[in-house]
């Protein structure tokens, strides 16, 4: 919470505590997911799990965090003060706005309507940040996110233009054996290209010729 140092006397900022994160973790552990969905680490929020994958962040915002926060809001209703409760409910609403924007943005089918809905929720989200965290410095990524409707209109669904395929290729290249002489004799493109073009899934051997 880097932003909220402006009102040190009010305890409203400390709504989300370690308990809340523990609750989220318990929810993550208790959730039974379809096998295609990326699973979140059970120690979500600690540095030990390393960087999360893009797909895991997607799971987090599409399901886990909004659902857990909503439960938290319900549970804490009687234990916290009214000021704190309004702030918490605003935070939950903020999260829901982002989740809705993501849901519209990552749809497999897009149209002008999808772009319009995405923009609507993204605006609500950014205005919400302005209101709740007046000191927070927005990042260029927040601006780029507002260009997503352009992309939806011009290029269609995001899965056509996102970099998952590239990242997978990089994962493949990283695993490839090299001679560890970076840049010097790193000349295995021949090898890479050969491996990639001749990569034949089992049982589909006629793809090559």
């Amino acid at each position: 919470m880097e932003s909220d140092n402006s009102h040190p006397s009010e305890p409203v900022e400390n709504i989300i505590t370690k308990d809340s994160l523990h609750a989220i973790r318990k929810h993550i552990e208790a959730t039974i997911r379809p096998s295609w969905q990326a699973h979140l680490p059970h120690n979500f929020g600690s540095p030990e799990h390393g960087k999360l994958k893009a797909d895991q962040w997607r799971t987090a915002i599409e399901f886990d965090i909004p659902v857990s926060l909503a439960q938290l809001l319900h549970k804490e209703k009687d234990t916290i003060s009214k000021v704190q409760y309004t702030r918490l409910s605003k935070l939950v609403e903020l999260t829901f706005n982002l989740a809705m924007a993501i849901a519209w943005g990552l749809s497999r089918i897009t149209s002008a309507h999808h772009a319009e809905r995405y923009m609507f929720y993204m605006h609500r989200y950014l205005n919400g940040i302005r209101e709740l965290f007046p000191d927070y410095q927005l990042k260029p990524n927040h601006h780029y996110a507002l260009h997503i409707p352009d992309i939806l209109r011009l290029f269609g669904p995001l899965h056509g233009t996102w970099a998952f395929a590239l990242e997978r290729l990089i994962g493949r290249l990283q695993k490839m054996n090299t001679n560890f002489k970076i840049g010097k004799y790193y000349q295995n493109l021949m090898h890479i290209a050969r491996e990639l073009t001749h990569a034949i899934p089992k049982g589909k051997w006629n793809r090559l010729f």
Binding site: G45, F155, G156, A163, Y186, L196, R207
Partner: protein
């Protein structure tokens, strides 16, 4: 020989396995290898002409220069030779750094070979090999014609950007006539660490230039054999800013030729008498940093931080209305600024020009149809999934265990994981000192509570060893003796 190839390609035999197979089948195990039959799989690939066509450029070792030089064939020595020094002139000064070193000895003569190499796989070669596989042409044909523009877009092929792309004859690029085949590609460039992001490893970065054929249906598009890996930009550091253009140049030159004249493939799978094909790049898909470099925009800290519009950086905080943003530059304006930048005579003039209008020259501008602002993608995965969402969770919600305030006084009140507790109990049962030592602090704490072990008052912070010793001694008093002995001996 054919057997060896089949083994490698279809049954997944490794190079070394095929090598030993070859030497057995040649009957040369233990005797001197006969010269006629190849001993290595790579030779066989060469003989059957299965190798991809790759040119090895010599690359200047300075990241700021990074000029590349194609090899020239030396008929006398039957080798490829490169210029000795970099001849790239910038601001009236020749770079002049060494390109080659003498390390290879052939026929009693040392042959210079490049210090840094840039391997480039020819684009036409990839398209040719793709079109000679069965099913590819049909898949493209049916995919392109099945997706017409309607209100809802399900795939990038039916999107307005691709449908409105104009070919060199003034007609829509994707409406072909006769046997012509027009392909649309996306260009992807990214840098990665070939040493797998290990924490202790030195950070090096190698780039990869790849192209994805959007004309293919989605399930074939991202298959490894269909992705064109055009080149691997050698490390250990990224080429600086505009130097990346050198590496893209061979690819862009081939693409320009392909778009303007079309390339005739003498034989494809569906057309034994051959057909011609044209290719075009539309979107450039990279993360923010790489995209700025490749498309020639200034970085995201500059005044014009966004490639798609001309919103100045100082309005980032409050201007959310997309209609109020000044629109991105048109191709003509962009080219004018880029050319002006390119013709500047000093480095400082270039730097101040970029500060003023945020445009560098990019080799992509060589493509006559390419739209610098429109076709630079703000990439969905990096912007949303790896940008906005983690920011929301970390900065706004503050979901970070260490920095979160705690409402209760006692920290770490949550019990440890069930699985690790089970492991702990088992380790205690088996009296394994080593296994107990490997457990986490809070598991040991919980175990002590469970077993009712009371430890002596700590001197400072309790160490793991104290817990382990306490546990073992309380459960198995015979351990007291071993600990006493070990403390005496030390």
């Amino acid at each position: 020989m054919f057997n060896a190839i089949t083994q490698n390609l279809f049954h997944g035999a490794s190079y070394s396995a095929v090598g030993s197979f070859l030497s057995v089948s040649n009957g040369s195990l233990g005797t001197s290898p006969s010269s006629s039959s190849p001993q290595d799989l790579r030779t066989i690939f060469k003989k059957f002409d299965l190798d991809p066509k790759v040119t090895r450029y010599a690359c200047c070792t300075l990241p700021t220069c990074s000029a590349i030089y194609p090899p020239t064939f030396d008929a006398l020595h039957k080798t490829f030779s490169y210029p000795l020094r970099c001849q790239q002139a910038k601001f009236g000064k020749v770079c002049g750094s060494h390109l080659v070193e003498k390390s290879l000895v052939m026929n009693g003569q040392s042959i210079p070979r490049p210090i840094k190499q840039y391997p480039y796989r020819h684009f036409h070669d990839h398209v040719g090999s793709m079109l000679s596989r069965p099913g590819i042409e049909q898949a493209i044909q049916s995919h392109v014609y099945s997706t017409t523009y309607i209100q809802e877009i399900t795939d990038i092929m039916s999107s307005p950007a691709l449908r409105n792309l104009i070919g060199v004859d003034g007609r829509p690029f994707l409406q072909t006539h006769g046997t012509d085949l027009n392909l649309v590609w996306s260009l992807c460039v990214d840098w990665y660490n070939p040493r797998q992001n290990k924490a202790a490893g030195k950070s090096v970065s190698t780039g990869v230039i790849s192209m994805i054929c959007l004309s293919l249906p989605q399930h074939l598009r991202t298959r490894e054999e269909n992705i064109h890996v055009s080149g691997v930009i050698p490390g250990p550091s990224e080429p600086s800013l505009d130097a990346v253009n050198h590496f893209l140049e061979p690819l862009i030159d081939e693409l320009k030729e392909s778009y303007e004249d079309g390339i005739y493939y003498s034989r494809t799978y569906d057309y034994p008498s051959g057909r011609s094909s044209r290719s075009a790049i539309v979107p450039v898909i990279c993360d923010t940093m790489a995209s700025k470099k490749v498309t020639g925009h200034c970085g995201h800290r500059g005044k014009y931080f966004c490639s798609r519009c001309r919103l100045p950086r100082n309005q980032l905080q409050e201007n959310f209305d997309a209609n109020a943003w000044p629109p991105g530059l048109t191709r003509e304006d962009h080219v004018a600024l880029a050319d002006a930048w390119r013709n500047m005579e000093t480095l400082s003039a270039q730097i101040s020009a970029v500060k003023r209008h945020g445009i560098r020259w990019s080799v992509l501008l060589k493509l006559p149809y390419w739209q610098p602002s429109q076709w630079t993608i703000t990439e969905g995965m990096h912007v949303l999934l790896l940008g906005v969402i983690p920011r929301h969770c970390r900065d706004l919600l503050g979901l970070n265990m260490k920095e979160l305030p705690s409402r209760d006084i006692d920290e770490d009140d949550e019990g440890p994981h069930d699985a690790s507790m089970k492991r702990g109990r088992k380790a205690l049962q088996t009296q394994s000192f080593q296994k107990l030592k490997k457990l986490k602090m809070r598991v040991l704490k919980a175990l002590c509570l469970e077993m009712g072990v009371v430890l002596p008052a700590p001197k400072g912070r309790r160490t793991k060893l104290e817990y382990v010793n306490g546990l073992l001694v309380s459960q198995y008093p015979c351990f007291l003796l071993t600990f006493l002995f070990s403390s005496l001996s030390t």
